[in-house]
């Protein structure tokens, strides 16, 4: 099936099978920040933005992205660069495998709620799992980024 979408600002036309998942399609297109984690809609590692909303690409058919806009971390480097250093400074990314999902969902959080409380950060990022850090590092990093903007 032929699909047409906007991927990281570029128009893309491609032929896909009916059951190709968006994750595999995006990786084929070179978006290697999109990783396969649990593969069962639970860990948040494969998060991408579709029409600005965070979704799980492991459980989205590529054909459903037809006529939509998809953004991955490759297309959002500048927006991410504002805060990822703060997360790294807190030692939050130990193995780093979960980072792309966390960063994508943090972008979605800050677009929706530019000044979240700690509880709002925890609630928004509850769908991103990290097996190393216990989540405090990510929270501290985002908090210090937000505090730096107020300084």
């Amino acid at each position: 099936m032929e699909i047409k979408l906007k991927l990281n600002g570029r128009a893309v036309t491609a032929s896909v099978e009916a059951d190709t998942v968006l994750l595999d399609f995006l990786r084929e297109k070179g978006c290697l920040s999109v990783k396969r984690g649990c593969d069962t809609s639970n860990c948040g590692l494969c998060t991408v933005l579709m029409d600005g909303k965070p979704i799980l690409s492991c459980s989205t058919l590529a054909v459903r992205a037809d006529s939509h806009e998809v953004q991955t971390l490759e297309g959002l480097q500048e927006e991410a660069s504002d805060f990822v250093g703060f997360i790294a400074d807190q030692g939050a990314d130990q193995c780093g495998f979960c980072n792309p999902g966390f960063v994508m969902n943090t972008i979605a959080l800050l677009r929706e709620n530019p000044d979240p409380t700690d509880d709002e950060i925890r609630a928004f990022l509850a769908g991103n799992l990290c097996r190393c850090s216990g989540y405090d590092g990510q929270l501290r990093g985002i908090r210090s980024y937000l505090d730096s903007r107020k300084a």
Partner: protein
């Protein structure tokens, strides 16, 4: 994993219904069982072009399209004002924001899943299901109906004078609930909807609830429970008493 041969974006409910009469075909919801499910689907039928992704509010009711996401429910100001935030409370711990941006009301209700927070909260409201062939059916009747090849078009929530509160017990915040509980008062009728028993939610109603503790005991007595890896039947029955009494007290019970 589920495999799919063909994909069709239906351009009308009739087209979707016709395609769905073939048992090899299947309606797509949020697709969140795509990897955990199994089997071969002939044609996946997508309703995403049918304008069923909106919540319409009038003076009398909310009309919630089948493709409305759980995140839409969570953020809808009118629905959450009417339900005193019970709908948002019911969905807020379902996995994560990304998951809730995908999971649809239609998929949740049609599946009649035992673990469903969504079914539990809507069962406590004055809710109806609009089926393409079957017409408008009260939700409490719909959950007793045998699954067929009809289409769930939308959910209708009547704005009856209502107070409602929702809570659940989870072993871990974003896990399935061990027990889900919604208590409402619609007119003079007190309703307790108990989900994740672990079977599908059931409704217990009375006009004379007594004290919160008496109502909780009444609900526990009339709600069958079972055991699974999240909790035993006895534990769930205990939880029904605790959560129902808590909800009833919050509701300002008799």
């Amino acid at each position: 994993m589920i495999t799919i041969q063909n994909y069709v974006r239906a351009q009308s409910l009739e087209e979707a219904w016709q395609l769905n009469q073939n048992k090899r075909n299947r309606i797509l919801g949020g697709m969140l069982w795509l990897r955990l499910g199994s089997g071969a689907v002939g044609t996946a039928i997508d309703l995403c072009d049918l304008g069923l992704d909106a919540i319409e509010e009038t003076d009398e009711q909310f009309s919630i399209g089948a493709m409305v996401t759980l995140r839409d429910l969570e953020l809808h100001a009118g629905l959450n004002t009417y339900t005193h935030h019970a709908v948002a409370d019911a969905v807020k711990d379902i996995v994560g924001v990304q998951f809730r941006n995908m999971a649809t009301v239609g998929g949740s209700i049609w599946g009649r899943f035992g673990f469903s927070d969504v079914l539990t909260v809507f069962l406590a409201l004055d809710t109806y299901v609009q089926l393409y062939q079957g017409g408008i059916v009260p939700l409490r009747e719909f959950i007793e109906m045998k699954k067929d090849r009809d289409l769930l078009v939308r959910l209708i929530v009547k704005k009856s004078p209502c107070r409602i509160t929702y809570t659940s017990m989870r072993n871990q915040r974003t896990d399935f609930p061990v027990l889900a509980c919604a208590v409402s008062c619609i007119g003079n009728e007190y309703r307790a909807s108990i989900g994740a028993r672990p079977s599908q939610a059931t409704l217990t109603c009375t006009d004379n609830p007594g004290s919160p503790a008496e109502f909780a005991a009444f609900v526990a007595e009339h709600t069958p429970t079972g055991g699974n890896l999240r909790g035993s039947a006895a534990y769930r029955t205990h939880l029904i008493r605790v959560l129902t009494e808590r909800c009833m007290t919050e509701l300002g019970g008799m």
